[in-house]
């Protein structure tokens, strides 16, 4: 079948802003959106820029806006979306070229919440033990692949680029509720700032955008409530 694909192109050397370009591609309904991008890049216009690494929904490189919704191009099939297929870069971050955005501020926010285990205690004979119940407490937020689909779907993040964003709070949640970690209080201190967790207005865009099915808004609410209990 023939599929009409519109891609929001931007070349920083010649364009002042993005413009739509249309491509008619021969595609199988079971092919992925990523395959369409490959067809354009490999056989039509080699200058098309986009990110992808594993191409199997694990690395989180190819988050983009497809028909208005954030998703991973490698996870969605042609038959699952309506045509013409409109592909744009994720919103709220500066576009470098075509579908590639500058993710520096996204990762700065991520680093800000100390997304690593902090525990100076002696681990004991073998490893730090944890009950299955304690492990379940943060199971959902371990699934994050940092694709930025949640943060760039957040209407607060679009207007306030100082907001840490859902992804950073999800990764704080992963350690805040880890019984082996000792820095929960520090993370919550960071997140009670005006640009922290309380900036969330529970729009739920992040939850529907997450390609890993993480209950993002719920995780943010968990963090807010936990902040209340430590104060």
């Amino acid at each position: 079948m023939n599929v009409k694909v519109n891609i929001l192109r931007y070349n920083p050397e010649t364009d002042r802003k993005g413009h739509w370009e249309e491509y008619i591609l021969e595609a199988d309904p079971d092919e992925r959106i990523l395959d369409l991008l490959h067809k354009v890049k490999w056989f039509d216009d080699g200058s098309l820029a986009f990110r992808r690494s594993c191409a199997h929904g694990v690395c989180g490189s190819d988050a983009m806006v497809v028909n208005g919704e954030n998703m991973l191009a490698c996870q969605v099939l042609v038959k699952e979306v309506s045509t013409p297929i409109k592909i744009e870069p994720i919103r709220g971050l500066p576009v470098i070229k075509d579908l590639v955005v500058n993710m520096d501020s996204f990762f700065d926010s991520y680093k800000k919440v100390m997304p690593y285990l902090v525990n100076d205690d002696e681990p004991g004979e073998r490893e730090r033990l944890q009950s299955p119940e304690d492990r379940d407490r943060f199971e959902d937020t371990t699934k994050c692949i940092l694709c930025a689909a949640c943060t760039t779907s957040c209407p607060v993040f679009w207007t306030a680029d100082t907001y840490v964003g859902p992804a950073a709070i999800v990764n704080a949640h992963r350690f805040v509720f880890d019984s082996r970690d000792n820095a929960s209080k520090q993370r919550l201190e960071i997140l009670k700032d005006v640009d922290g967790a309380f900036r969330c207005r529970t729009a739920f865009n992040c939850t529907s955008a997450c390609p890993r099915g993480i209950q993002v808004t719920k995780a943010i609410e968990d963090v807010k409530r936990e902040t209340l209990t430590i104060n």
Binding site: M114, P155, V194
Partner: protein
């Protein structure tokens, strides 16, 4: 290539003494929201269901305010709705006015208006004396 300073590697010094304002503002919205549902529903039933606004006169209001109970009820409704509404608008302004100067101006305008209404309302409620 731009050189990148890696000063943010390793452990951060834990932030201390940060403001709890956003936390308490968030919690206040939940609690005041609960109270406002009860207070506003009570107000609506008294003014629009059990009575008709067309029949409300000076006598009706004066009779209500003869008891400190109704004055307290009205003052709570006034205070909570102004604080709840002001905080809501503060959030909306923070989210939607990107320009810092305009945002600050809008916020000052909001705080001034809210304070004026609060002072006026409180003054009427406290100073009201029935004319015989």
């Amino acid at each position: 290539m731009k050189s990148v300073k890696r000063t943010d590697w390793g452990r951060r010094t834990p932030p201390i003494g940060g403001s709890n304002f956003e936390l308490y503002a968030w919690f206040f919205m939940r609690i005041s929201g609960l109270f406002l549902v009860l207070l506003a529903a009570g107000h609506m039933f008294i003014m629009h269901v059990f009575n008709d606004t067309l029949n409300l006169d000076y006598e009706f209001v004066a009779a209500r305010w003869d008891t400190p109970y109704w004055r307290t009820f009205d003052w709570l409704l006034l205070t909570l709705s102004i604080l709840h509404g002001t905080n809501g608008l503060r959030i909306v302004m923070h989210d939607n006015i990107a320009n810092k100067t305009f945002r600050q101006l809008a916020l000052y305008g909001l705080y001034f208006t809210s304070t004026a209404f609060f002072v006026l309302g409180t003054y009427v409620l406290v100073a009201f004396v029935r004319e015989v």
